[in-house]
């Protein structure tokens, strides 16, 4: 495998990783600090994707779609928190799983009724269309580079928020000593609402920016949520840093694995075995990493550190 191919797979993995991170960051905050399992988080990604795609299709402007989708998803997240989730905080995790799972079914059906059964596809904004020549044989889509840029910017923003602001201080405190934060007179209800809003913002952003790369369809949320759950367990529940490292790690491992496995084995074994091995690798790599982390460090890589 030449270096350009290798570098391209690293970029692919990085891009997949940061997209995953946008979903996982919100999920891990809610799970780690509020102590609430929100399977419905993927629905927010789907909502962001659908709203952005619909507006982009009607008006022809990707940017308008993005600008409307993100705040709309935040509003949706806040509505869900105040109307449903708030009532579930004191119930056990099984109740939360059941309730949020039923919301997935509800929102999938709603999306089907509102947006129809056909997958949507939207074009990239003209500004970010095309590919850029990096070096040698390597041409990389500008849009995917921009997605990586957004991911990096969000990671820096979240670092600043948690390390340098009062809200961040409360988030850090809440991730390890939830009850104590309440006992010290902090309005926990408002803190939780702020965390939900932040999670919804990132989910809406993730949905809006993946629209131009893949089909926007009913059920896309579940695909994302399963991998996001794997990632937050690898990273340590409640840890943004962990979610970032684990997302990028899983993204790069999956992407490299899908090309390295066939490359390494195709000289040793026959085609159907290569197909079998790489197919197996593509479907299982995230879970293999999860299993390995759980054996070595069951609490996750960055448990206790936001």
């Amino acid at each position: 495998m030449d270096f350009a191919l290798f570098a391209e797979q690293i970029l692919n993995g990085l891009q997949a990783g940061v997209t995953l991170f946008l979903t996982a960051a919100g999920l891990t905050l809610v799970f780690g600090i509020v102590g609430f399992i929100n399977l419905n988080h993927g629905t927010l990604v789907m909502a962001g994707a659908y709203i952005a795609a619909k507006i982009a299709t009607v008006t022809g402007s990707f940017w308008l779609g993005l600008a409307v989708a993100v705040p709309s998803v935040v509003v949706l997240g806040l509505l869900l928190e105040t109307s449903v989730f708030r009532r579930l905080y004191h119930r056990d995790h099984l109740d939360q799983v059941l309730a949020t799972f039923s919301l997935i079914l509800f929102f999938n059906e709603l999306a089907r009724i509102v947006f129809g059964r056909l997958p949507y596809q939207i074009d990239k904004p003209a500004l970010l269309a095309g590919a850029v020549h990096l070096f040698g044989d390597l041409y990389y889509p500008i849009y995917r580079l921009a997605v990586i840029g957004v991911g990096v910017a969000v990671a820096i923003g979240l670092w600043y928020l948690t390390a340098k602001t009062k809200l961040g201080m409360l988030i850090r405190a809440g991730s390890t000593h939830r009850n104590l934060v309440g006992a010290l007179g902090v309005n926990v209800g408002r803190l939780f609402l702020a965390i939900f809003a932040l999670g919804a913002l990132l989910a809406g952003l993730a949905g809006a920016i993946i629209g131009p790369m893949q089909a926007v369809e009913v059920g896309m949320g579940e695909n994302i949520i399963i991998l996001a759950l794997v990632v937050i367990v690898i990273g340590g529940v409640g840890s943004i840093r962990g979610a970032l490292v684990a997302s990028v790690f899983v993204g790069i491992a999956e992407s490299l694995g899908r090309t390295l496995v066939p490359y390494l084995f195709e000289k040793v074994v026959d085609t159907s075995t290569v197909t079998f091995l790489s197919g197996m690798f593509a479907s299982t790599s995230a879970y293999v990493i999860l299993a390995a982390v759980l054996i070595v460090r069951p609490q996750g890589l960055f448990a206790g550190k936001v």
Binding site: N108, R117, L118, Q121, A215, M220, P262, T275, S278
Partner: protein, 391 residues
């Protein structure tokens, strides 16, 4: 006296009800278990909408002049759900005809139950390999195609365009592997890579990078629904623009509508297309467009022909499905004018039919549509029929 007339009345009433059952005065019940939810829901929707056009053309709720009741239910792509639905429809509601199933793995789960209970399975879509071969059954009919045929034809198409170096892409599950096997059946060139992806995968960047490194002159992909939309989108944005894209039936008009100009250049295979030039097809397309405001896909066509096949057999037995042998013989005869032009059953009760290549074209109004291209195989009989022991 009063007592006597009471018994007489009761006897008369009994006679009337049993007599009614014998003469089949109620509508013939048809169980239609299909997939209406999940991202694949549009396939069941198309199939159902095609099926009901045939009933509408007879003035509503009639097939072959016989009153029918179509019981539609959603299986959610779950074999266990489909099994329960079929059991209820046959035992509680008294349906003897079951149709509608989309996915091959669900056909494999329900069709044996149907035929074992003495009912008829008339399939509008999925048709697993084994049931076309060694496990064929006289009461099991497929009005669409044997599942692997669409890819058998794609292999022929690859030969026709003189593709020499081809990469195959399909999801890692039974139907995906069957399609890859189908492609290899007639293809004479080199296959430099076979890529199995995760079912429901949405990002193909890593696969596309690998495909590019293999420098193929064609890529064959079996990725139904949203998977195909994502894949094509990403291929068109990568450096693969000059590689031919070949697909089986999966690039239908609704997928083309969703992809727009990105669908241009994709070649697929089909047994029928909306532009077929025969009276039956034109009438179907016109009526479908009038009711639903869109061009019917091949799934709709399959639903329509399934309904018309059932209609021809119901007509032959005057709506009395309890005449099992006569009904079976009538189904096998397939005495209806198919929108495909010619239609007859092979020994395994799967159609012998003609396959064409299919292109994507841009209409004058800026929309995109599919268009029938060159002939691939006239009167193709699927190879599994040789393993089926029935005449």
């Amino acid at each position: 006296m009063i007592r006597k007339s009471f018994w007489a009345a009761l006897a008369a009433a009994t006679l009337v009800t049993t007599g009614g059952a014998l003469a089949q005065q109620g509508p013939v019940k048809i169980g239609f278990v299909t997939t209406l939810t999940t991202p694949s829901g549009y396939i069941g929707e198309e199939t159902r909408d095609g099926f009901t056009i045939a009933m509408d053309q007879e003035g509503g709720n009639k097939l072959g002049g016989v009153a029918v009741e179509l019981m539609i239910a959603d299986d959610g792509v779950k074999p266990d759900v489909a099994k329960q639905l079929v059991e209820r429809m046959m035992q509680k509601d008294g349906a003897k005809i079951i149709s509608g199933v989309i996915f091959s793995n669900i056909v494999a789960a329900v069709a044996p139950d149907v035929v074992k209970a003495g009912g008829f399975y008339v399939g509008p879509n999925g048709a697993p390999n084994n049931m076309a071969g060694a496990d064929c059954h006289p009461n099991y009919f497929i009005a669409s195609w044997q599942a692997g045929t669409q890819s058998d034809m794609a292999g022929l198409l690859a030969d026709k365009i003189k593709a020499n170096n081809v990469v195959l892409v399909a999801p890692d599950y039974v139907a995906g592997k069957d399609q890859i096997a189908g492609f290899k059946r007639y293809f004479k060139g080199t296959i430099s890579g076979e890529i199995l992806t995760k079912l429901g995968q949405t990002d193909y960047a890593a696969e596309i990078t690998r495909i590019r490194s293999l420098k193929p002159d064609a890529v064959f992909f079996f990725l139904p629904g949203g998977m195909g939309v994502s894949f094509i989108k990403q291929v068109k944005e990568s450096g693969l623009q000059n590689t031919a894209l070949l697909a089986p039936l999966t690039v239908d008009d609704r997928i083309v509508e969703s992809l727009g100009d990105k669908a241009m250049g994709i070649r697929s295979t089909t047994f029928w297309n909306w532009d077929y030039d025969n009276a039956a097809s034109k009438k179907f397309v016109e009526d479908f467009k009038k009711k639903h405001g869109r061009v019917p896909t091949t799934y709709a066509a399959q639903g329509y022909d399934t309904a018309r096949l059932i209609a021809s057999a119901l007509k032959a037995v005057g709506g009395d499905v309890s005449k099992t042998d006569a009904f079976r013989a009538a189904l096998k005869k397939a005495d209806f004018v198919s929108i495909r032009g010619s239609f007859k059953f092979a020994n395994n009760n799967h159609p012998i039919q003609t396959w064409h290549a299919r292109d994507v074209v841009k209409n004058a109004d800026g929309t995109y549509a599919t268009k029938t291209a060159e002939l691939l195989f006239k009167d193709y009989k699927d190879p599994y029929s040789a393993e089926c022991k029935q005449p």
